[in-house]
């Protein structure tokens, strides 16, 4: 990785590591109520504290914003209403964190508490006290799609299953808490705030620049957004998070640079994770294993604001297609508002929970028709190139090979059914987009643009707006530039994600960077290469198209066939043994002739630097530019909501999980996951494997332990230990298997590799649990409580409501978390069993 050293030495700077002279600290006051009208805010007492520079409230920046053009429903700070516990009410800017925290306690806010909605299905019935006045029934958006003839499909099916699946809410919990530093230059003519520079932990610097411009009423050119190193995103930084806007508003009011960094607890409240999703799924198959129809009703608990919600609910439906050949699909999706932090995009955006349901049900259907679960998946393959029933274009398709390889490597055919008691194998597949073919702001604008500048000494500088967030964006960019220009990687320097320097790139989300920014880099490098070739061809007295750039040299094509040998001969000098092969001898003879000609006239090869110097002398400046916009054919159908789902290419994944289940405790242990992923061409195999393993691991977390536990709008586990992200001792071995279906449009054939694998892991584990102990789990995560309940229900053959989760008021499941300010003594009316209401609070840490 080109940036590994700055990460392993601690020299690299993340936003919170930065400071500028005169910088102040901002702290945010959060709402203690899930739903309340703000009747009055009095900041006088807070403002009087020594060290407090400014107190910012909603009316300091009243313009609404939101990541989607259809969802401008957020404000930097609440104007008249708070909509979740943790909503942003005011911000204190002070000389130190301690002073700011003290001042927060002195802000007087008078609330009128309103009835709140926590369950999406209840919320959909709301008639009064709506969360947003313009959203009747608290319904953010609903879509109803019918492709093919589902009724006929079900009539033709030999087996039909219908069930309700629930996937509980999870969050990104990226290791770096969100942080933003905002600084205004003072306009020397007016003395007023002039240009704004914002350093922020963001995946989308250009969207941030755009939203800042909306809220602050400044032209985008007056705003510079710089993305320093980002400590993980997973989608949590793929939209504008309130603190990014608040920091800028606060810096304007305080007339000084302001940095705001969330505490870990605030990160949990900022959320934007994967929504709790209720999936009513019906699938029909024929005896030969072919799927005849699918019907899905999906309800997402979206939280209090739109965020990416409209896109999430569309992805859930659209990506029912493009994995298998399904002729008839009916989809009803409901994105519902509730009084909880907003959900947004998270790794595998919108597809993960529905995939869990679909792959689980497919497994059950395989059992019903007596077919092997791997076989039923092979019976339903697409035949690309094709366009699916819901309008998705599929070209490269490595799924058959993914299934075949995981089956081989895991010993599926020999071991399935022959494992010891309580042990099982499960298989599942998934796919994901390589970038959305339509950007969230509908236009024909290129999704990525890249500029390249080459200096006289042969140094290549690539300017890209693509955002490195740990996924390897900068390394990919440098590799593609070096490969295209035939120069060594060490010549290439990447300047990324600085809106003043780098051309527009819409950001790091929907796994678009390698495909789109990679293609733009490839085109920019080809553009500049053309200029170098034109100048070099003159010097070498040949046609530019006859030149080959290879290993820091520019040579003629007729020499290129034996190029590595020729170079080897040159480097090892006269000691090189002459080969007896006629071909090589001929080359040596020709080489000596060329040497003679070289002494007299045009060169027969040039070093990269010589060619660059020639090009600069010939053209003046030496720059190149390239951009990428997805082709029209890949942009999907015409129905309402057709814009979400289409991608220029899809990645494919198949996984086998081996688990064991402790029948006494219900504890599930994942022993190994074989994960085959079709990423087109693997540009950097170490990175690709890292992304596959990371995705599988995150999927395993959602499958077994991770869950946002809610009680009356309060998050019961806002800490990294309580959230139960798996540690090294709980993490299985993952065997990544790279499958390379070379995509015709990807850069060097490359596609997505960072998200697609996640969705297969959850159903693979669910199916393995079924194989191990014969119970089908309909609700994730598969905690010991749920597994035990399912096993008990099976034994007594009595139905048991599996959706009834663990009682979150049990102290063992959470602990009182002391960090935040809104929490101290001002909390909402608590549940009778809430430990905070007891005389002696339980010891921190609970049972952990």
């Amino acid at each position: 990785m080109v940036d590994a050293a700055e990460k392993t030495t601690g020299a690299g700077k993340y936003t919170d590591d930065l400071s500028v002279p005169g910088m102040l600290v901002g702290k945010i006051l959060h709402s203690p109520y899930p739903h309340a009208r703000i009747k009055r805010i009095d900041t006088t007492r807070a403002g009087k504290i020594d060290g407090v520079v400014a107190v910012v409230i909603g009316k300091d920046a009243p313009n609404p914003y939101g990541i989607l053009p259809v969802g401008h429903d957020e404000h930097a700070l609440a104007l008249d209403k708070v909509r979740y516990v943790g909503d942003n009410v005011a911000c204190v800017v002070a000389t130190s964190e301690a002073v700011a925290e003290k001042a927060l306690e002195l802000i007087d806010v008078e609330y009128e508490v309103l009835p709140a909605y926590f369950d999406p299905e209840e919320s959909m019935k709301a008639q009064s006290d709506l969360i947003h006045d313009n959203k009747p029934n608290n319904l953010e958006k609903d879509y109803h799609h019918v492709f093919g003839d589902p009724d006929r499909g079900f009539a033709e099916a030999d087996e039909v299953l219908e069930a309700r699946f629930i996937a509980n809410e999870v969050t990104h919990a990226a290791m770096e808490p969100h942080s933003t530093l905002a600084s205004f230059e003072v306009d020397p003519h007016t003395g007023k705030p002039g240009r704004l520079t914002v350093w922020s932990s963001t995946q989308v610097p250009y969207y941030l620049q755009h939203k800042l411009s909306l809220v602050l009423e400044m032209p985008m050119q007056q705003i510079r957004v710089i993305k320093p190193l980002v400590g993980g995103g997973f989608g949590g930084k793929s939209e504008v998070i309130p603190l990014e806007i608040i920091a800028a508003v606060a810096a304007r009011k305080a007339q000084a640079p302001v940095k705001i960094t969330y505490t870990r607890e605030e990160v949990f409240w900022a959320h934007r994770g994967r929504p709790r999703t209720i999936i009513d799924l019906k699938t029909g198959v024929k005896k030969d294993g072919r799927i005849s129809a699918v019907k899905a009703r999906v309800v997402q608990d979206g939280g209090a604001y739109c965020s990416y919600g409209v896109v999430t609910i569309l992805y859930s439906g659209a990506l029912l297609g493009a994995l298998y050949d399904i002729p008839n699909i009916q989809y009803d999706g409901y994105r519902v508002l509730t009084n909880k932090p907003a959900c947004g995009a998270m790794r595998g955006h919108g597809t993960v929970n529905v995939r869990f349901a679909f792959e689980s049900q497919l497994d059950e259907l395989a059992a019903q028709i007596g077919m092997d679960p791997a076989e039923i998946r092979q019976r339903n393959l697409l035949r690309p190139p094709c366009i699916t029933v819901n309008g998705l274009r599929v070209q490269s398709y490595g799924l058959p090979e993914c299934i075949q390889k995981t089956v081989e490597r895991s010993g599926w055919n020999q071991r399935k059914g022959n494992l010891s008691k309580g042990r099982g194998l499960g298989i599942a597949c998934s796919h994901y987009v390589s970038g959305a073919a339509n950007s969230i702001i509908r236009s024909d604008m290129p999704h990525s643009t890249v500029n390249i500048k080459i200096d006289r000494d042969g140094g290549v500088v690539v300017y890209t707006g693509a955002s490195e967030i740990g996924q390897g964006s900068d390394t990919m960019t440098a590799q593609i530039a070096a490969e295209t220009l035939g120069c060594s990687l060490s010549r290439v320097r990447v300047i990324a994600a600085d809106t003043d320097l780098t051309p527009i790139d819409i950001g790091s989300y929907s796994s678009r960077v390698t495909f789109m920014a990679g293609n733009a880099t490839l085109r920019a490098a080809e553009d500049v290469k053309k200029r170098i070739a034109a100048a070099a061809a003159k010097k070498m007295a040949c046609d530019p198209s006859d030149l080959v750039f290879h290993e820091d040299r520019v040579v003629r094509k007729d020499d290129a066939a034996g190029l590595p040998e020729e170079l080897a001969a040159k480097s090892s000098g006269p000691s090189q043994e002459p080969s007896v092969s006629g071909r090589v001898e001929g080359q040596i003879l020709r080489g000596s002739l060329q040497q003679k000609r070289k002494d007299e006239g045009p060169k027969d090869s040039m070093t990269f630097e010589e060619a660059v110097v020639a090009a600069i002398d010939f053209h003046g400046a030496l720059t190149g530019t390239g951009s990428y916009a997805p082709p029209q054919e890949a942009r999907g159908g015409k129905h309402k909501g057709a814009g979400v789902g289409p991608s220029p290419a899809y990645s494919y994944s198949a996984q086998v999980a081996e688990v064991s289940v402790d029948e006494e405790t219900g504890e599930v242990t994942v022993h190994k996951v074989w994960a085959a992923h079709d990423c087109g061409r693997a540009l950097n195999p170490v990175s690709v494997e890292g992304q596959i393993i990371g995705s599988v691991w995150m999927g395993m977390g959602q499958a077994l332990t991770e869950e946002m536990v809610w009680k009356d709008g309060m998050l019961m586990n806002p800490g990294l230990l309580e959230y139960r992200s798996p540690s090294s001792v709980e993490s299985p071995e993952v065997e990544p298997i790279i499958v390379e279906s070379i995509d015709p449009e990807g850069p060097f054939g490359a596609k997505e590799c960072s998200e697609g694998s996640l969705a297969a892991t959850i159903p693979a584990i669910a199916n393995a649990i079924y194989d191990a102990v014969g119970v089908r789990l309909h609700e994730s995560p598969f905690t010991p409580e749920r597994v035990l309940a399912a096993m008990r229900a099976k034994r007594s053959a009595k139905s048991l409501n599996l959706t009834e989760g663990v009682d979150p008021t049990q102290p063992a499941r959470f602990r009182e978390h002391g960090g935040s300010l809104w929490f101290k003594g001002k909390g909402p009316e608590r549940h009778a069993l809430d430990p905070a209401r007891r005389e002696a609070p339980t010891a921190a840490g609970g049972a952990d």
């Binding site: 700055e6 990460k7 590591d17 993980g232 870990r264 990371g694």
Partner: protein, 163 residues
Amino acid sequence: MKKELIELRVNGRSHELAIEPSALLLDVLRQDLDLTGSKRGCDDSSCGACTVLVDGIAMMACTLLAASCEGQEITTIEGVSEHGSLAAIQKAYGDWGGAQCGYCTPGFIMTVKSLLAENPDPSEADVRSALSSNLCRCTGYSQMYRAIRSAVKAEREGLAVAK
């Protein structure tokens, strides 16, 4: 709170600092000494991103009073490089994908340093158990094990200082 003068030894150098007695070691390192390599990922020793060595023992600086470290030798990630070049473990983490976003990496490297000082040839179970004090959300840990094995091998073969 009134500040007090303390002397802190960090990465082989002594610093005289005026700090509040309640100041946490992590804040002193990051804010007073500008050693921002140690990260804050949580506030309550759940994530290990702030791990430093105090007299060779891996400790979490986010819940350690700076004043309590007077007279002890503190090593942060900035003190790990050898003669200005990457230590074997740093190189291996970079080569084998042990660091993706890199935010947890300094903490992990300090934990590994302390493990290898105690046990120069750890089994995979030893490594897993030692690393469980730190959280990573990117890698799934697997590539770290490979990096650690490769660093152990490099150290053994005397390649620690890059040629």
